[in-house]
Symmetry: D2
């Protein structure tokens, strides 16, 4: 039987035939920003709100996120709109700050941070586990196993692009065949993040449609109400209007394939 | 204006809104085999018949194809069924043997065989140009440029998977984001070969659906009426019945996205 | 001026013209094992003893190391032989256990675990930072920057092979050109780990010689007195005798290039 | 017994303990250029002169080489200086033009052009076979097998860098562990081309030294007497003076390892 991840409070579900839209900005930037975006993605059909507060940036001099305050703003915005919230945790010592967060995300740089995985296995929250930057399918499954071996069976796997030789037009290479491969190998839900995978807004909708067509259980999409001014990843963010169109078209594809 | 490749005789078209199904065995093995398969893929909705006669095999001791006889059998089968035929040319000195072939295919190992490309640019047949094994988008476009600079504007680009680190579950990594990227950069039709990309029959339909969803102009699918006994690539071949199902579902996706 | 890492107590140095040999088993397995190996590598010319106590294993069901006890045994063996000791730290919460360890190693899976790097930047011990599994040169330098931005300038960079498509004969692809590239870009010492890079004992000496020839400041070599019975990575471990030969030949190469 | 490639006329040898230096410009540009360079590399210790006349360029609009005239100039320069000459052949139909060429080179884009390999297997000249752009060790050996299965046992294998994710500082990733791996698997001589692998003059000497240290049988080095004005690949060319220094240091490394 396929695992279903459900945040009952909000009726938000992923897996077992339920397709979930996780949407929101790369980073929480301000109360206004996250509330505006939350309202828009809710209206468009999302049931999960994403937003980074602790950001793993390649350079120590990049914007590192609002931290504890960012989490607070995200949780408030989610509650107000009736959206379950998802945010990345990088350091287990900050776990208390994530009390109001519904799903804890492990980013691609921490997919093999086994101490973190083991600790998250002792929590009672669902874990959204991203595939490593150059992680194999087997490594992803074994990282999930670290969480589950510690007692937490609620894991969502996320394909987010792998590093290959071709960095000219896309940031990573979205490996969509990982979706049907994982669906053959595991009962866990599998979602796709076309925003980080491609790094370009114009590619997000086509790859989201493709993900839905090959059997993904959900999508994680970066949405910003003013992408040109985003503090991080603006070039890959959809506007709320573009996201709404994407939701409609993804639903049409899923309907056609029933 | 987008380039449309058309084989008028058979009303077979790819590009400019027309979605083409190219189907058939990896290798032409016998008159009976290619005729049986041709009849089945025609009935299922294909308008192009594929079949290798000159096979580029990694080892000199592998089955190298039936050569001239294979081409002849393929052309006969295509004519009988009203299917345009596609076959790979590896050496320009064999060009005369391809007289009856409608579309000349350049395989991934020859994508940067510039002398071959230049010569094909002097023919009047459409060229199906596969992306190199580890070819960038830019290299693919410049290889097409070699053909076009010699006078032949009829080029179909084909994404067929790239070589990455993860060879455990799939033969190559199908890079579907290449489809919308290429559609942004060129007027040429872009098709996808999920059979060679994944190397596994169970992944062909999901990836074909994904290709259609993200904007491909056609598909190249390996079909064999007895995959277990195929002389090459049997593990990635669909049965005619599986191909028929695939066609129906691809059409449903395209319909939903109109 | 090039940074030199020195453990004064033992006269052990890496960088600024001093070439350091770090040798020892993949994992500390027992008091007897680590003492025997320590004596042999010291006699052969090593000035640093390595040995894993907390092991980052892809599977949660693999041997995870002896933990605190392993560190203790390693430190005892090092002191007895007058060798500085190096061991991997995976979780900052275990930092107190590493009091006797002279150099803290960050493994390839944690190269972008920024919280760990920041914390290590607040310690006063040298950090041996391994390149990520598919990490770029720039990412490695920026990860070092995380440590240095927190106040600790004592960083050793370690090339240990990158993940590429060719996994048939070697575990990773040792990227030796990273050595002269890094020497152009940074004042930090650069060492090479041919054991993890190649995964095969027969390749360790040739690649160690190559590393010395292209300008590395040191080597990290797995040595086990009974490789066939090693609990981890036995197939890539040299015997003490092989290590002794390697040291002599590396010194000959360096002498020739003075 | 290891295969030795020998051009008796000039006493030029590679393999079986003989280390050969192949040097010269990327492209033959003029009579003056190739004669000047030939004299300099001969004086510095090379026994083979390289120079491209038919150039496989990614773009059809790049400089494609002097063709037949280039071959003629190269051969003249080689004879005058007593150097065996090496040049790349891309199309078997040009074979007659290569009569005076001592070693026929197959470039990385043609490593799997099996028709070309088969034809070269019917010649009586040694073949210098470059590894494919993303070719595995096994594929390289099987491509050599195509030549040998056609009757020509004189094959030199050449590692020239593979395509990986890290294109920031070097053009390709020089996979030096391929050298000892190939030496374990085959009797054929193995040489290294650090010029194409790294794409940067400053990295050529360190990587040449590393190649010699890990057991290569020879080196292929781009040398130009005015790199800033070279029609192709000037940024990776050594000056004759730099090449002379390289030869001396490579010899010192080999002497030290005897």
């Amino acid at each position: 039987m396929n695992t279903v991840i459900e945040i009952k409070e909000y009726g938000a579900r992923i897996g077992g035939g339920c397709f979930g839209f996780i949407a929101g900005p790369c980073s929480v930037e301000s109360a206004g920003q996250i509330h505006r975006i939350a309202a828009r993605v809710k209206a468009a059909g999302a049931s999960f709100l994403r937003g980074g507060a602790f950001k793993p940036r390649t350079s120590p001099y990049g914007f590192q996120g609002l931290g504890a305050e960012g989490i607070e703003l995200l949780v408030q915005a989610g509650r107000e709109q009736g959206l379950a919230v998802v945010s990345e945790i990088m350091d287990i010592r900050t776990i208390d700050l994530f009390e109001g967060v519904d799903i804890l995300q492990v980013g691609a740089r921490n997919t093999q941070n086994y101490d973190l995985l083991r600790e998250l296995g002792r929590t009672h929250k669902p874990i959204l586990l991203k595939r490593g930057i150059a992680g194999t399918i087997k490594e992803l499954l074994l990282s999930a196993e670290y969480i589950m071996a510690s007692g937490n069976q609620q894991v969502i796997l996320c394909e987010r692009g792998i590093r290959t030789f071709d960095g000219g037009y896309t940031r990573n290479t979205l490996d969509l065949s990982a979706v049907p491969v994982l669906k053959e190998l595991t009962h866990l839900p599998v979602i796709v993040d076309p925003s980080h995978a491609t790094g370009r807004a114009s590619l997000v909708e086509p790859m989201a449609l493709a993900a839905a067509a090959c059997g993904a259980d959900g999508l994680m999409i970066e949405v910003h109400d003013d992408p040109g001014k985003a503090l991080s990843d603006g070039h890959q963010s959809l506007t709320p209007g573009q996201f709404e169109r994407l939701v409609g078209r993804v639903r049409a594809v899923r309907e056609a394939l029933k």
